[in-house]
């Protein structure tokens, strides 16, 4: 977890977020220290209410931390204005939510193109990038469809395309498979894997341990604090079939 700040794509120092409830203050995140290297895929897990989403939203500039520092690619970003954050999100950060990932009154293709245009591409470039992404995701046929007509899994895949439209430094995903059945989740997971293998840095929040296990590193959050942060080790030995049986026995 060390390494000089300039090389890590993301680093936080003592990040805290407290909400003022009615009367009582609720601390959603306490003193989180994390770091993510370029090209790393990390998963944040923990029980619901542990503060995972809040943490992720802070890293994407969608929530303002109460205290602490956030460093993105060696530059400090936690004190940036909303406007600067917005610019960051256009070019360098891709964000995928659990729901409402697509603008509802535009087609699928428009959504991806819009993201590209907002990131600075020309119309032609945006169109080309959209075709490329949707093709890779196997959704080329649905380009003209309205988002509401897509299944959950398809919507999430389009959301990924949207988030990846500008080849961001960092991809942040909040429970991307939260709404999906296990089979579709696997599909999205495989997609994430492919994206990762092409060099994308990914930080995702999940309560699905299977998804978490696919990451390079798993960060456990409990009651707002990071309780564990360890790289995933390969299993002790490759598992031949009989071992599985023994496992069940």
């Amino acid at each position: 977890m060390t390494g000089d700040g300039g090389r890590q794509v993301l680093r936080t120092v003592n990040l805290t977020k407290a909400f003022a409830g009615d009367g009582t203050a609720v601390t959603a995140v306490r003193g989180a220290d994390l770091a993510l290297e370029h090209g790393e895929f990390a998963a944040i897990t923990g029980p619901s209410g542990a503060g995972k989403s809040t943490l992720l939203h802070m890293l994407g500039g969608l929530e303002r931390p109460t205290s602490g520092e956030i460093w993105l690619d060696g530059k400090r970003v936690d004190q940036l204005s909303q406007a600067r954050w917005a610019v960051l999100r256009r070019r360098h950060i891709g964000f995928v939510f659990q729901f409402f990932n697509l603008v509802s009154n535009m087609t699928v293709a428009d959504n991806v193109e819009l993201a590209a245009i907002m990131g600075g591409a020309s119309r032609k470039q945006a169109q080309a990038r959209r075709e490329e992404l949707l093709g890779e995701l196997g959704l080329a046929g649905k380009a003209r469809a309205a988002p509401a007509r897509l299944s959950g899994g398809e919507q999430q895949r389009v959301a990924l395309a949207r988030a990846m439209a500008n080849r961001p430094l960092l991809l942040l995903a909040d429970e991307p498979t939260g709404n999906l059945d296990s089979a579709t989740s696997l599909g999205v997971l495989a997609l994430l894997g492919r994206v990762h293998s092409s060099g994308q840095s990914i930080l995702l929040v999940t309560h699905d341990s299977r998804v978490a296990s696919a990451a390079d590193r798993v960060i456990s959050l409990f009651d707002g604090m990071v309780v564990d942060d360890a790289p995933m080790t390969a299993p002790r030995h490759p598992m031949p079939l009989p071992d599985v049986l023994r496992l069940r026995g």
């Binding site: 341990s209 978490a212 296990s213 598992m239």
Partner: protein
């Protein structure tokens, strides 16, 4: 049975009946009531293996009782047992025992215990996931899925334990 007894003795020396009642007290309904005979047999085996030693205590009004205490080797064994991640469903009980008894052993913090176990499970999960993708026949795949689901359940349970204990 061996390791729980060792763990109990790590805290203080006791004789058979005390150990039995301690076990019952700690595990209550969830654990099948240990047979005092089994306990004595296990204790004797442990003594033979050099992990405990016994001593007779003279009592005036009652028959003598035999008190057992942990040897250094025994203490080592307990620490080793607790520090080593456990396996499988049946061994889950083992993990739970470790979790319940570790403060008595004074060895490691519960959080660290939980973390280590979780990491192990996750690693296994990853292995199984990769295996599941590779599996081309149905029965093995289902078996693997079953194991994955168990593991996921275990991980969830781990979280619950974390909520309660920590």
């Amino acid at each position: 049975m061996r390791m729980p007894l060792l763990a109990l003795l790590a805290k203080e020396s006791a004789h058979g009946y005390e150990l039995k009642s301690q076990l019952e007290q700690i595990f209550g309904e969830a654990y099948p009531a240990p047979n005092i005979g089994q306990i004595y047999v296990t204790l004797q085996r442990l003594e033979r293996d050099g992990l405990v030693r016994s001593q007779d205590v003279v009592q005036v009004t009652r028959p003598n009782k035999r008190v057992y205490e942990l040897t250094d080797a025994g203490r080592e064994a307990v620490i080793d047992w607790i520090d080593t991640p456990s396996e499988g469903p049946r061994v889950r009980d083992e993990f739970f025992m470790k979790l319940a008894l570790s403060p008595l052993a004074g060895t490691s913090d519960r959080l660290g215990l939980i973390n280590r176990q979780r990491r192990h499970y996750l690693s296994q999960l990853r292995g199984l996931s990769e295996l599941a993708v590779a599996a081309d026949r149905r029965i093995p795949r289902l078996l693997i899925e079953g194991a994955i689901l168990h593991l996921q359940a275990d991980l969830d349970w781990l979280e619950r334990c974390q909520e309660d204990f920590v």
